[in-house]
Subunit: 231 residues, 4 copies
Amino acid sequence: MVAVTIWNEFRHEQEDEDAAAVYPDGIHEALAGVLEDDHEVRTATLDEPEHGLTEDVLESTDVLFWWGHIAHDEVDDEIVDRVQERVLEGMGLIVLHSGHFSKVFKRLMGTTCNLQWREDGGQERLWVVDPGHPIADGLEESIELPTTEMYGEPFDVPEPDRLVFTSWFEGGEVFRSGCCYRRGNGRIFYFRPGHETYPIYEDEEIQRVLRNAVDWASPTAGSPRTFGERE
Amino acid sequence: MVAVTIWNEFRHEQEDEDAAAVYPDGIHEALAGVLEDDHEVRTATLDEPEHGLTEDVLESTDVLFWWGHIAHDEVDDEIVDRVQERVLEGMGLIVLHSGHFSKVFKRLMGTTCNLQWREDGGQERLWVVDPGHPIADGLEESIELPTTEMYGEPFDVPEPDRLVFTSWFEGGEVFRSGCCYRRGNGRIFYFRPGHETYPIYEDEEIQRVLRNAVDWASPTAGSPRTFGERE
Amino acid sequence: MVAVTIWNEFRHEQEDEDAAAVYPDGIHEALAGVLEDDHEVRTATLDEPEHGLTEDVLESTDVLFWWGHIAHDEVDDEIVDRVQERVLEGMGLIVLHSGHFSKVFKRLMGTTCNLQWREDGGQERLWVVDPGHPIADGLEESIELPTTEMYGEPFDVPEPDRLVFTSWFEGGEVFRSGCCYRRGNGRIFYFRPGHETYPIYEDEEIQRVLRNAVDWASPTAGSPRTFGERE
Amino acid sequence: MVAVTIWNEFRHEQEDEDAAAVYPDGIHEALAGVLEDDHEVRTATLDEPEHGLTEDVLESTDVLFWWGHIAHDEVDDEIVDRVQERVLEGMGLIVLHSGHFSKVFKRLMGTTCNLQWREDGGQERLWVVDPGHPIADGLEESIELPTTEMYGEPFDVPEPDRLVFTSWFEGGEVFRSGCCYRRGNGRIFYFRPGHETYPIYEDEEIQRVLRNAVDWASPTAGSPRTFGERE
């Protein structure tokens, strides 16, 4: 069984009534609920020692989820190093929504990961632009979300290896909302949907994407990454 | 000076009053007008001998434009071979709008190049998703077109080398509307805007894209393409 | 169980003593032997009706292998159309060695697929340049083949989506010898090793690559490829 | 005229007799000599204040060269931030040889940038695998270097946007020795050749590549990179 660790900043839900109303146990528990039937799921949060990401935890994680928003700067650089190293060794990484601005994602992308945004509660439609991608397995041609925060282009990331979703927003914007990367042996998926007060992760199609993404991001055996001096 | 040849099917404008009203001399002449100040421009049309694309014409062409819609099947396979060969040698190719279904484009892509469409005269906004690309030089963050035909995903083309534009449509769709490819030594740019009865090519920002695309698609010297048996 | 069809031109082995000595039942049977324990394997050859690739056969094939060399031109264009269509729908395609010049591969690539070559029986070493790729699962850092035909750059194909292997040749050349592409919903892997008189497919590491490639190229469910007019 | 700044660690040449014999004024001066006829060239070195890379210098630089080897750790993180920011805004960056392990390159790639190596003075042949790329303009099909340090795969970098050169080494290895990337609006070229005691930069074909790379990496106008909240 694939070992999934869900990391959540877990601040909104403890500080903000609206967020607590939607995610009373935290976004990490909501995500765990989506995945726990078919995966071995653990959670970790910012305020735990080592943010819950000890070497043992990371060593035994196949796929790591990352959700953060208002406290990116509080993530210790040493833990960022550790996550980066594990991704390059093969651990999958799924970065959600406002995690675009996390130290971990910026470190792995090498860019600002900046974008445009507007918190207007408008409609979003995620179009599958790569119907052959395993992350799109079993979806319809698009996913509709009635109430979302808008993210708009330009999105300052490297050109994705594969672009799976592009979002249409009621207010007139578009966004590359499902982006696949490989870095070292690790697979990275950035997936835009999510918010601390809109119940995006209760949507069944979004849940299907999250499960597909775990399958896609799981490590494969690969061949040796042997570096250094050769005889 | 870059030598541009503009190929147009030139049927709508001779058969259909609405098209003739917008492009009385044909779409090729309208495009020629956009480019002729800074380039050496020729035109060629379907009903000329060899569709106007003799070996001499192609040999002396740096960048070829392609506009076709209702008569793709009438293009001779031998001419398609000839265009493909010249692109692989280094000639640039700019495929416009309904040219997505031309034999030439399908030959070079290897896919169906199919898509969704709706002729509703709705609004389109082309977002620059790659602000560092030379085809975006001098543009604003997006281009607005008040009245267009909709093209929607999925667009069955290989993942572009660089995606420059993504379109938002009033009716709820998105489309990868500016796609860059290299095939052999040739640069290929697919650019969605255009229509036989909407005066898209009169838009100054669209004209800027067309000029930028010629600069980008022009051949470079390169190094030898030497194939075959080696000693 | 994944349904594999192995297509072989099957001419060398019937016309040439040296080839018959290495592959007495044909290259297709040798490849079938490699895969039949874990897959449902069929074979098809040029001289069968419809080259053995009827609509029924292709419809029930998950992954198609392609080996051809001296009779590429005898492959019927209608069958090429059929194979291309099935790949775009999702069938995997693994093109081996001299299959680089097959109609099927050239059709899907859109380029000449030309290269340099020398039949000198020299040494080849295939380096894994993408150790995280599933096609490299379980390999060492390189594969050594003591006696091969050389293929050298430039190789006139589109830039691969992922480059898995690069070959070093004793005579001084390099070659991108393991190239991954997606076209439509189909996965395509070009793998250089193979020859009609060198027993390349008896090498255990090469066999491991062939099995890995079948796993990688197998279709996934995907989402709808719905094209045409929208309401 | 394109404004080039050549950054060199400049330690080997001051500390090591062999390096001083080959590059008496430093590698930066040798590179400046290659480029100064057609470009506005400045140099900067590690031991200058702010490593010679003040905000003014970077602001007025179109293309930055980077050569470092034994003192990567002495480069101040603040200067690394500054260089990264300028690249994302559009400044070109050309990273040479052992610069693969510089903080600047690792920051922009997001990976370890590790590789295999052997200092054996063997022969290298750089094959052009992308003859249509402007960095290959005017070259032959390959460049021969009689005496080099070997760099071998795996090279832990993101899959290049375009791979221009692949090296063959006498000792049996291959290496992706000319890799193009875009990050933000900036163009990045990693070019393997170079060494502190082998006079690689005196080779005329290598000099041609350096000049071509400056042309390719020079900023274009682009369109706005506007981020943040939208109305």
